[in-house]
């Protein structure tokens, strides 16, 4: 086998222990999905926290959820859905080799992620100001029902862990933007971009459930 055919079969982005680029990509995808499985179970514990305590305190949950700002929650839902679209478009552009479009879409995704965090900050600041805080830090007086601090424990742990994921996603996407600018990716190799997209979509999916569960208790 000549060196030329070897190079064609084993380009620089394929690590030596993989037989082909396709095998490397399939392996990365399976690994990423297994990681997403652990993420679902991580959030699953908190969804359980929500379900068990809401079953015990249905009226308190209903009363306490009125303290949340539905407008901000809805805006954040739309912001995250749009960011999911832009990250999907960023990957699609790289599949077609349109690097400049990828840079544009990745930048918009990062911008939308920061928008989400800013809106979240204003929500948290309002709750902090009113004393609607988790557990023993709760000192608001305007919510009827026993133990409303439980609702805010649920609210802050669930949205807090989600916000940590948004921050992590923003950092990873900034890294992907730098790598795109460095011309690390091409239409042949964009696996890290694709994995970042999968992670970002999962963060979106989790918010899709958090939004009605927390903001829209009917």
């Amino acid at each position: 086998m000549s060196d030329a055919t070897k190079a064609a079969e084993h380009p620089s982005y394929v690590q030596h222990h993989f037989a082909s680029a396709e095998q490397q990509r399939e392996t990365a995808k399976i690994g990423m999905w297994v990681f997403l499985l652990t993420e679902i179970l991580l959030f699953g514990g908190l969804f359980g926290f929500y379900v068990f305590y809401r079953a015990w305190n249905p009226e308190m949950f209903y009363n306490a959820h009125k303290a949340l700002n539905v407008t901000m929650g809805t805006v954040n839902t739309l912001v995250l859905i749009t960011s999911s679209l832009t990250v999907a478009l960023a990957i699609r552009s790289m599949q077609l080799g349109k690097r400049n479009q990828t840079i544009m879409f990745l930048s918009s995704t990062i911008g939308l992620a920061i928008t989400f965090l800013v809106v979240k900050y204003f929500e948290y600041a309002e709750h902090y100001h009113l004393g609607e805080l988790p557990g023993k830090f709760y000192h608001a007086h305007d919510i009827a029902g026993t133990n409303p601090h439980i609702f805010f424990s649920v609210y802050f742990t669930m949205t807090g862990l989600h916000a940590i994921h948004v921050i992590a996603g923003t950092i990873v996407m900034s890294w992907m933007l730098i790598r795109t600018l460095r011309r690390d990716f091409s239409s042949e190799y964009y696996t890290p971009l694709e994995m970042t997209g999968l992670y970002w979509h999962l963060v979106d999916i989790i918010w899709i459930f958090l939004y009605p569960l927390l903001y829209l208790i009917g």
Partner: protein
């Protein structure tokens, strides 16, 4: 429902048409506003069901189209569904406990065998026939049951027999509300 995309890149990865991506995003926007609107309609306990069905449909759209599960190896779909299956097992089985705790705490107020040593009371200062209450965050009352069991070893024969009778009496009086 969905046309399979025709174009692929050189490695067989599917390039999803733009109109599919924008269509899904439009659907997600619409369903978000639909959930919001539905929350103002009072359907009783159906509200949560409707909200979760919409959220489930939105999540499916994201997973199938944005995350490419529709076109990818079905093994990846299996991994995703496994996570959901185990989540359902975890929450479902725990609910069997948390939804029925009230009944269990009620039972602990009515000893099955009042003669057994664990129910004997050493606290002779307590008035005979004092009610024994269940220790439960749901009954909202504290009790002395735990102290009793730890001091069982120290009880004399006569006092344990007396208190066993007291237990029997109190369990009879308590059982009125249980059934």
């Amino acid at each position: 429902m969905l046309a399979k995309p025709t174009s692929t890149d050189e490695h067989g990865e599917h390039v999803v048409p733009l109109k599919v991506y924008f269509g899904v995003a439009g659907a997600l926007f619409f369903l978000t506003m639909l959930t919001l609107a539905m929350s103002f309609v009072d359907l009783g306990s159906m509200n949560m069901l409707v909200a979760m069905l919409i959220a489930g449909f939105k999540a499916s759209l994201v997973a199938l189209i944005f995350m490419h599960l529709w076109w990818d190896n079905k093994f990846l779909m299996a991994i995703f569904l496994t996570a959901l299956l185990f989540l359902a097992i975890f929450i479902g089985i725990t609910l069997m406990d948390t939804l029925n705790r009230g009944e269990i705490y009620q039972q602990s107020g009515q000893p099955i065998n009042p003669q057994s040593a664990i129910y004997t009371r050493s606290d002779t200062s307590a008035p005979a026939g004092a009610p024994i209450k269940a220790s439960s965050p749901f009954s909202g009352t504290s009790d002395t049951t735990q102290a009793d069991t730890t001091q069982t070893q120290a009880t004399s024969d006569s006092s344990s027999q007396n208190s066993a009778k007291a237990m029997q009496n109190s369990s009879k009086t308590d059982s009125g509300g249980a059934h």
